[in-house]
Symmetry: C2
């Protein structure tokens, strides 16, 4: 969408708007197929080459999208945004297929990158790699980004730090969809915060959270199912919390984490502002009234070397112990739930996908194969794999 | 308290446990008096000299405590913790009056500080000043701290960055008081996150939030008033959300921001873990099973120079515009509320205190004057001011 066209256009374009998913988008067993990682990666790569990206950039995009699927964040994998944002955006010129990336300000610990309107995944990877390189050299690196586009799952970039024994941070602003506490109109994006921290034997800590209570996708699922939503997820057109999923979708007003003031929504609102300031203002991309999925998006990345602070092996041993302590918390009796932590589900999804392939809805496979046909791709079709 | 003594001891010691307050602790007009800032600062300073601190360290502590009161965070000002933690802690030797602060690991961008068991305010100031000095020199500075004690309001330290045209971050772990999502026992502290970001003419952005839905103080206020609490604030002894304030206080189990899984408590839980990892593990202070108000506490501080990323004046102009945009959000009709942002209340409290003095409960004034008597202080008594 083009910023300024307002909620109506955004409603049409946006299928989901947060980094989380419960996998429901892939459908049930009868509508879901499993696709091998390598085949999916190749198919997506070929599609983006067909759309005009260099082979290297297409591989970067495919990597980011398939990684999201591998980690169970299917809302930000190959399923939604190729169709809704990336392919139409590149074709309409809202996203530059061959962007000129530029470092417009730099110190040994920091940089500002202008993404030249390119795919957010290409820009994001460039900027996060720059942050990691700076951290390799001086211990910490922080990079603010302007002139980018939708970059997929925030956690993809923070996750890149883990292999370097670094802590990774990734933030992005986004389309206006979240109301400030006590407000009646959307003023902020779902503005996710992603942090990844290395562990030893345990699944690394990997937090990738929208600063709204839920992403828009959850409202859409409830609406389709004709089910009510809990108070604290979204507001109606007056700004008041509603349990009516259809009214909530129509209003396009998510509530900040906390939901209501009584339950701390001013904290979710504060975190959303923080993300917008670091991503939008520190970079010069613009915040608040700016943003827009097909328009200016800003990001913020940082990496910090563990050995600035601790011996990495010692740190990871203590991380393991801490993570095990959390998981060993006795669950609420009779709840049937277990205590996990951010990163456990992602690690389990990765193991499952490696063993059984990546679950995709048949419609997604059909769309990707159709797009490959259109673009005259020579790669094998996923539907026939 | 000494770690390991469990909830019973913590319940006795802890009056409030989060950085927020609605000012209710100062009581109504009939029990509240206004004390001039300078008089309060001198009285507190003299008390801490009487307890054995150097004049410089006593001034640092007085500064931190009075600043909290000036910003309306009276829960972390002079009212609660001098009586509950600091004075008894120093007298019992759990807090070192004359600590040896040591930088145990250092790079141009980072450091680890061992606080030697000293007052958290002294250790915190030392570490945040070190982060600011590093940021002055190389753009960004990050300092992890072990061997510290309760440091008061987290926001006091992030706020120090503002005068240097820097963004400030301050985190601390704390006594076990918060249950992981789906868990039935407290495993994490209220682990606050404080971030301060400069603005131009508008009140700077200043977020100082516990990662629990509410601090313990709010449970205690409801309990005293015999009122129910909302679901999502705290759990009973089984770990289930309760509306019974007395049961909640007895159980000593706060819920993470979000309250319930359905409303995103896994995000609050994730943020609390993040704070514990950065404050406790990155420093070597210990997390999870460790902590304890009178025992090991870890902090994490960072400062980043605005001009690493933007021209500071340009940034501040855009901050002002953004902050005004947020405040201009139409409020929910008929709610009687206005839309503000993190930092507005603090700026208003500061202006009010400057004009009218700092509001204190008469009991607090009596306690401080009594302590001054005990310590043979020659400063004028607050009650006679």
């Amino acid at each position: 969408m083009v910023a300024g066209e307002g909620a109506e256009s955004a409603r049409k374009d946006a299928a989901t708007a947060g980094p989380e998913t419960d996998g429901a988008e892939t459908g049930g067993a009868e509508t879901s197929v499993r696709v091998a990682e390598a085949a999916l990666r190749e198919a997506v790569e070929v599609i983006f080459v067909g759309l005009g990206l260099t082979a290297e950039d297409a591989a970067t995009v495919a990597d980011a999208l398939v990684e999201a699927d591998l980690m169970g964040v299917s809302s930000h994998g190959v399923s939604n945004y190729i169709q809704l944002i990336y392919a139409p955006g590149i074709r309409a010129g809202r996203i530059e297929a061959r962007p000129r990336l530029e470092v417009v300000r730099e110190t040994p610990v920091s940089a500002v990158v202008d993404g030249g309107g390119g795919m957010g995944h290409v820009v994001g990877r460039f900027a996060m790699e720059l942050a990691i390189r700076k951290a390799s050299e001086v211990g910490i690196g922080a990079v603010a980004v302007l002139g980018s586009r939708h970059y997929g799952a925030a956690g993809h970039y923070s996750h890149m730090a883990l292999a370097h024994d670094m802590i990774g941070l990734s933030l992005t602003n986004a389309d206006k969809l979240v109301v400030p506490t006590h407000g009646s109109e959307s003023r902020l994006g779902t503005n996710p915060i992603a942090v990844s921290i290395p562990a030893g034997d345990e699944a690394p800590f990997h937090l990738d959270m929208a600063t709204s209570t839920v992403p828009l996708g959850k409202i859409m699922l409830a609406r389709r199912a004709g089910q009510p939503i809990p108070h604290g997820w979204a507001a109606d057109a007056t700004g008041r919390s509603t349990t009516d999923a259809a009214a909530a979708f129509e209003a396009f007003r998510l509530l900040p984490l906390g939901g209501t003031y009584e339950l701390g929504s001013h904290k979710g609102y504060g975190l959303a502002m923080l993300v917008d300031i670091l991503s939008g203002l520190l970079s010069g991309a613009g915040v608040g009234a700016g943003g827009g999925l097909g328009n200016q998006v800003g990001h913020f990345f940082a990496a910090a070397r563990l050995d600035c602070f601790r011996d990495p092996d010692e740190f990871k041993r203590e991380m393991d112990e801490f993570l095990r302590q959390m998981r060993a918390t006795p669950p609420i009796e009779g709840s049937g739930e277990e205590v996990i932590y951010a990163g456990v589900k992602e690690a389990a999804a990765r193991a499952d996908c490696a063993a059984n392939g990546i679950p995709l809805h048949r419609d997604v496979v059909a769309y990707l194969d159709g797009l490959a046909d259109e673009l005259g791709s020579t790669a094998p079709r996923l539907g026939s794999a």
